[in-house]
């Protein structure tokens, strides 16, 4: 049987019917990675031997009649999420040889659930970027058009899911890094509420914004992965005690009476006409399915990028201070003093965008500028959060585009960092407000590129988010595949 391109539920049907084995699934997936990765650049490390060893172990469990929620599912993991014994580079020269001595909690939970880690995916260096062009180990090409970016920063995970190089993937989302690649690659990407998934073992970028999230082919698969990775973790003091509901059970197709808020600010200047039309068409379809459409306001939207690039870089400049050549990773040769070793290691080890963000973050935190920039941004963040609270008093979910454009061309925005930052205009709001959001594919542009729609929910209401997204997907399935 054809086992490439299956979703988790289809794969599970096949495994239960003994139509295939975990070993066969993994071997076929590895073959496909080997055939396509040279052109796509989606994987930085392929976990071939360990994946096949584990597949046989899981086949043994299956033969004994054991079952687990993600039994035999080949998972790709973004290379900023720690995997024990498997190189984790953050797509940076400074961690080119880092082999974590522990698993991230999300990875540990995937393994307990029976998943197979098939490899580590390319990304922007330390998750800083919107196009995956900031990787120290090469670009990722969009499976829909090799001359275009896959979106960033989890570009390898987005491309791997779209190109069927895995069944599901993990990404991380600090300002849209799960949702943007999902939109550009025509797949589903979920950023959970801040605190819903443990950040333990996720290499820190912006600690008050970072969340791990699934990138999948369907909403149901996103629900399955979230079910496994969500929940309190004693190793992350910002992980929440809030009970984890049954996300799969929530997928009942019910959409009647759901109030969908449409923020005027998400449809202003800068939004591509084709994207706008596709998103509006989808909004009308939600209405046809029984949702009530209401207008809401998010008046501080235009300040979100400025606010984000102060807070995220401030946190990054602090978090990335640890890369100094002492305990792990790259160390510059021949320095005569400790200070020189720090400075040269960081000069040689970090790429341009990472240096730029460390510089900006250091600047906004430095004496004389802290109040004017950093403190100001924290106050504006509070205003953005309040915008959402007020909007959610009038609606259950907020709907809009995931990105102002479809996937742009490789190199198009590399010379202008600010233009690149503007790609995140609709996604960073959820990170600043600490709320969950999902991107689902709702159509193709005339040039055949995927268009993503984004839904936001109140904190910890992932079940509502998934239910409504799933109802849409069931009624209007996105059945296109990239021309590979």
């Amino acid at each position: 049987m054809e086992i490439i391109g299956l979703t988790v539920d289809r794969l599970h049907e096949a495994l239960r019917a003994r139509a295939t084995s975990v070993r066969e699934v993994c071997a076929r997936t590895l073959e496909r990675i080997e055939a396509l990765n040279r052109q796509l650049g989606a994987f930085l490390t392929i976990n071939r031997d360990e994946a096949l060893r584990r597949a046989e172990e899981l086949d043994g469990e299956l033969a004994r009649g054991d079952w687990r929620p993600l039994m035999g599912v080949p998972v790709a993991v973004k290379d900023n999420i720690c995997t024990r014994g498997l190189r984790t580079t953050c797509a940076s020269k400074i961690l080119h040889n880092f082999v974590p001595p522990y698993n991230a909690t999300a990875v540990e939970r995937l393994l307990e659930a029976g998943a197979v880690i098939i490899g580590k995916t390319n990304c922007d260096e330390f998750a800083m970027g919107s196009s995956n062009e900031n990787s120290a180990f090469g670009i990722v090409r969009n499976p829909w058009d090799a001359e275009r970016v896959p979106g960033g920063s989890s570009g390898g995970s987005g491309a791997a899911v779209a190109a069927d190089l895995c069944v599901v993937a993990l990404g991380s989302d600090t300002g849209g890094s799960v949702r943007l690649p999902a939109a550009f690659c025509g797949v589903v990407g979920l950023k959970p509420t801040y605190g819903r998934v443990s950040r333990y073992g996720l290499v820190a970028y912006g600690s008050s914004l970072d969340q791990i999230g699934p990138i999948t082919k369907t909403v149901a698969d996103a629900a399955r992965v979230l079910q496994v990775i969500a929940g309190r973790d004693p190793r992350d003091s910002t992980s929440s005690n809030h009970p984890v509901p049954d996300y799969l059970a929530a997928l009942n197709g019910e959409i009647k009476g759901v109030r969908l808020g449409v923020p005027r600010e998400y449809f202003g200047p800068g939004l591509d006409e084709e994207v706008k039309d596709a998103v509006w068409r989808a909004i009308h379809r939600f209405a046809d399915l029984g949702a009530e459409i209401v207008e809401v306001r998010l008046p501080h939207t235009e300040y979100a990028i400025a606010c984000y690039y102060i807070i995220a870089t401030a946190e990054a400049s602090s978090n990335l201070a640890r890369y100094d050549g002492v305990r792990y990773g790259y160390r510059a040769e021949g320095a005569r003093t400790l200070r020189e070793m720090y400075r040269r290691t960081r000069h040689e080890g970090f790429g341009a965008e990472v240096k730029r963000r460390i510089m900006l973050g250091t600047y906004v935190l430095s004496a004389g500028y802290y109040d004017a920039y950093y403190l100001k941004a924290l106050k504006v963040r509070a205003l953005i959060e309040r915008d959402f609270r007020e909007a959610f008093a009038r609606c259950d979910l907020i709907v809009g585009p995931t990105s102002p454009t479809v996937a742009f061309r490789l190199g198009e925005k590399m010379a202008d960092p600010l233009a690149m930052y503007l790609s995140d205009v609709y996604t960073i709001m959820a990170n600043l407000a600490a709320i969950p959001a999902i991107s689902i594919p709702v159509g193709l542009s005339r040039e055949g590129l995927p268009i993503g729609l984004q839904l936001h929910a109140r904190p910890f209401e992932e079940a509502t988010l998934l239910r409504v997204a799933h109802a849409y997907e069931r009624a209007f399935p996105f059945s296109h595949k990239p021309p590979l």
Partner: protein
Amino acid sequence: MPITKSDVEKIAQLAHLELTEEEKEQFAVQLAAIVAYVEKLNELDTTDVPPMAHAGRDERADYAQRDDVISEGLGQELALRNAPDPARGYFRVPKVIEEG
């Protein structure tokens, strides 16, 4: 506000980052553009707005802390395994005290 090359040098020093002349010039231009953009925030009156210092403000979040119980750490061997220059159970580094 303009950012000069000497501002860039000062920030780089704070961040323990060596930069080439070319990088210094490029960053001066780019950081000035980004800083000019983020000054947009000054359009907003935030006098009575309390800063949102951390993300977990929702009442449902309940970010409970764990009990203060001692647990196993990584141990010396594992902690040193990725070290560029381990020596006798330590991280070895170049000379700390610089000559005047």
